[in-house]
């Protein structure tokens, strides 16, 4: 194993540059280091101006997504040695406006997230004093997978549809909508259907499946979207065949 590796890091400082460039840094290769450790080595020892987000370093806060050799990755969970002998190319997540260096603008996702109403909707709230809503382990399993999304944005970065049409609600927000739709305690499905069964909603997805491939938490957004399409279609059929209400 070589003891040094070259990082080719995308730099973009809007106050100084009109377009991104690459800067090379040579860092030591250590067995336990992830890409994020190498970036922190650069920031602490070589160039304090290199900018990126990170926080938990255990794959659950969702801050440190970047494009590593062309693939969206959580850099805290991606080992440097996997890229030996290098060089390793580190770029910001794709399909997002870049604010600075490796930091992208998440504003669009944050707005879309609110749009899918990612909260429990009840026609009537049961008083807390009456205890919990019962939910069997099987009912929990029905949505659990979609509740594991850490909002890391790797799926948006991988999604070719979002790349072409920024109006597309996108994988994570749709998976989170399904997380609530499939929750036995929730009654907000019809409300969300209005938002989701549009061209920008689930029908925007052509089932490329890249989102599911890159998801670090096995959420399977593509599966969530396909399932929703089926439900939306059945809903439409029921509406036509049984106009008095099939639901």
């Amino acid at each position: 194993m070589a003891d040094r590796i070259t990082l080719q890091v995308a730099r973009y400082r809007p106050e100084e540059q009109s377009a991104p460039t690459f800067q090379e840094y040579e860092v030591p290769v250590q067995k336990d280091w992830v890409i994020l450790d190498a970036l922190n080595h650069v920031k602490d020892r070589i160039d304090g101006s290199l900018s990126f987000r990170w926080s938990c370093r255990m794959g659950v806060c969702g801050s440190c997504g970047m494009t590593v050799n062309g693939v969206p990755k959580l850099t805290c969970a991606t080992f440097l040695t996997d890229y030996a002998p290098g060089p390793v190319r580190v770029e910001p997540l794709r399909n997002f406006p870049v604010i600075r260096d490796l930091i992208v603008d998440l504003g669009d996702f944050m707005r879309k997230l609110v749009g899918v109403k990612p909260w429990l909707v009840r026609k009537e709230e049961k008083p807390i004093s009456e205890g919990e809503y019962r939910q069997s382990p099987a009912e929990l399993d029905a949505y659990k997978q979609f509740s594991m999304c850490i909002n890391c944005m790797l799926c948006y970065s991988a999604c070719p549809i979002y790349g072409l049409d920024p109006k597309f609600v996108g994988p994570a927000a749709l998976a989170l909508a399904q997380r609530y739709n499939l929750d036995s305690r929730d009654q907000g499905g019809p409300e969300r259907m209005e938002e989701l069964s549009t061209h920008e909603g689930v029908w925007g997805c052509t089932f490329v499946g890249e989102c599911t491939k890159v998801c670090p938490k096995n959420v399977d957004p593509a599966g969530a979207i396909q399932r929703y399409k089926l439900e939306a279609a059945l809903d439409w059929v029921k509406g036509v065949v049984m106009p008095w209400g099939g639901r």
Partner: protein
């Protein structure tokens, strides 16, 4: 002049979001701001794993939860606060259930509970072993439906604005633009979490720099019980990633290099094949971390490139239980340690995890400064005393987040006056200082990283699991020198757009202040209690120190330590008994 908002929350983790929702529900007219240096769902609550305690079982009682908490805290907790806490915790956990939190369930659909360290009954609610993650996302997603909650995402607070003993808001940097702005409010609630990053080896995220503690301390509010630092007994070597106590609650063993369950040698009970509550691996964290140090001294630990370790063995639980009850443990071991706990033992060592101390508050989260509140790990109410029990911190941030939210909302609703011109003059001054800062001062210019590294080393060597007067004084002296060097810090980055180096510099200043407060509180307490173990004063001294330490900052940056008696209601100080 009318303030920008009615209430500002600094920090958007579990405590901050719970407080925000509480306020939005109490008074929908209130203009609430959440100012956070990260998007709320990135907050460190996300990393909490094992669970959240709240009495539900028919065989359990509030008194038992209170007694476990009081004795676990070596009688330093305020018992009126503990009683309020155990009473309100179940309701808060149910409230989260009603908001959609995916709690793990029993076959009949009721919420499931598991055992936890130092708890005599099964009362820890859990969402597999990602409890904090699910709680945080549930709170964040629920908060989105309240339109009165306005968010300043990625805004970093540098100063509290104080006039005539009252807090009127904050100065903050909009990280995206680099603009320094003033945000005023009738009330401000600090919910910024702990400060694990003052140590080199910690479970804490990079954002845990004691921001809120330092903001309050500089503004004139005292810090309480700062000498009590929790080492979690089971962190992965090198990364410090937490392996949850739930691994032991589900039946994992701690063994030394001979495969021996060494906790039986430390007055923690006798080994049993299945977990026994308040015994052995389910003893309290302070005692388990201290036992590790003795195993190392006896030469019975395992040496690794990252220091001595012991083994956490969960192999006998089997693949099915590991995958259903502690899947994140397996995921973390596979991804970060390259081992599979189904077939291999997990190397672990104690790791800095939690601050029992924090900003001094009353039972409602109010600090001595009018208009300033604190909740969650940043605060010290105190319910945790000298040692927090696992699974008490998540319900704590709910109970006291909601309490602080309610009283701050009442306070803000009762005020109609706005900030004075003195407040804006202070804000201008802070803006000028920020623009001029970190350009090398009068010296040749110091880099951030070496000062941070030396601070962390001083804390580990002088203020670790076992301390002495000499080790603490040594650390305090080093920290003074580092404060001097910090004045001459010079950063590479002087651009406005998302200048993370400037933020790190301010954070380092916060950490140095907090580290000094910790060292000074620790050197003054000449006894051993809970997580504060002085080898030069090995016994607990209730005659002198059944009291909270209060560190106040003097004008010259030095500190003064005073004491406040502990509130005892029903449980007079006694012996902490585990395993017998």
């Amino acid at each position: 002049m009318t303030p920008t908002h009615d209430v500002i929350l600094v920090g958007g983790g579990g405590a901050g979001l719970r407080a925000a929702i509480a306020m939005a529900e109490v008074n929908p007219q209130l203009r609430i701001a959440v100012v956070s240096k990260v998007y709320p769902m990135r907050s460190h609550t996300v990393s909490a794993e094992g669970g959240a305690a709240g009495v539900v079982g028919a065989d359990d009682s509030l008194d038992e939860h209170a007694y476990d908490t009081v004795s676990g805290g070596d009688w330093l907790a305020d018992q009126d606060a503990v009683e309020a806490f155990v009473q309100e915790a179940p309701r808060e956990l149910l409230q989260l259930e009603h908001w959609g939190c995916p709690w793990s369930r029993e076959a009949d659909g009721r919420v499931a509970v598991r055992p936890f360290g130092g708890m005599k009954k099964m009362r820890t609610w859990f969402a597999a072993d990602k409890t904090g993650f699910h709680m945080l996302h549930t709170l964040f997603q629920t908060s989105l439906k309240y339109t009165s909650v306005f968010r300043y995402d990625e805004w970093f607070v540098t100063r509290l604005l104080v006039d005539d003993g009252r807090v009127h808001g904050v100065v903050a940097i909009d990280m995206k633009s680099g603009r320094v702005d003033t945000i005023t409010a009738h009330a401000t609630i600090l919910c910024t979490g702990g400060c694990g990053r003052v140590f080199p080896f910690t479970t804490n995220a990079s954002i845990k720099n004691g921001d809120g503690m330092a903001l309050a301390y500089r503004a004139g509010a005292p810090l309480k019980d700062m000498e009590f630092i929790q080492y979690h007994p089971t962190g992965l070597p090198f990364t410090g990633i937490l392996i949850t106590e739930a691994a032991r609650a589900e039946g994992g063993y701690l063994v030394n290099k001979d495969g021996y369950r060494y906790l039986q040698d430390y007055d923690l009970g006798k080994p049993s094949p299945t977990p026994v509550l308040r015994s052995m691996e389910l003893g309290p964290r302070d005692r388990l971390s201290q036992a590790f140090v003795h195993e190392v001294e006896k030469g019975r630990a395992i040496d690794t490139p990252y220091g001595p370790v012991v083994h956490l063995d969960v192999r006998h639980l089997g693949a099915k239980k590991i995958n259903s009850k502690i899947p994140f443990v397996r995921e973390l071991c596979l991804k970060y340690q390259n081992i599979d706990p189904i077939t291999e033992m997990i190397p672990v060592r104690p790791v800095v995890h939690y601050m029992m101390g924090g900003v001094h508050t009353d039972i409602n989260g109010a600090t001595p400064l009018a208009g300033l509140y604190a909740a969650g790990e940043v605060a010290c109410v105190s319910i945790n005393g000298a040692n927090r029990l696992g699974s008490n911190s998540l319900p704590e941030l709910l109970v006291f987040g909601a309490r602080a939210g309610k009283v701050a909302a009442e306070y803000a609703s009762s005020r109609s006056d706005g900030p004075s011109s003195a407040v804006f003059a202070q804000a201008k001054d802070e803006e000028r200082q920020l623009q001029a800062a970190f350009r090398g001062g009068s010296g040749k210019g110091e880099k951030l990283a070496p000062i941070r590294d030396e601070m962390q080393k001083a804390m580990e060597e002088g203020v670790g699991i076992y301390r002495t007067g000499a080790s603490l004084t040594g650390a305090a002296t080093t920290l003074r020198t580092l404060q001097e060097r910090f004045r001459n810090v010079s950063i590479d980055d002087h651009s406005q757009t998302f200048n993370t180096e400037r933020i790190s510099a301010v954070e380092l200043g916060f950490m140095l202040d907090v580290a000094e407060a910790i060292a000074n509180a620790a050197v003054t307490r000449e006894e051993s209690r809970g997580a504060h173990q002085r080898t030069d004063f090995p016994g607990r001294n209730d005659g002198k120190y059944l009291a909270h330490s209060l560190v106040s900052r003097n004008a010259d940056g030095s500190s003064t330590v005073g004491y406040l008696p502990v509130t005892i209601t029903r449980w007079p100080p006694g012996e902490r008994v585990y395993g017998r």
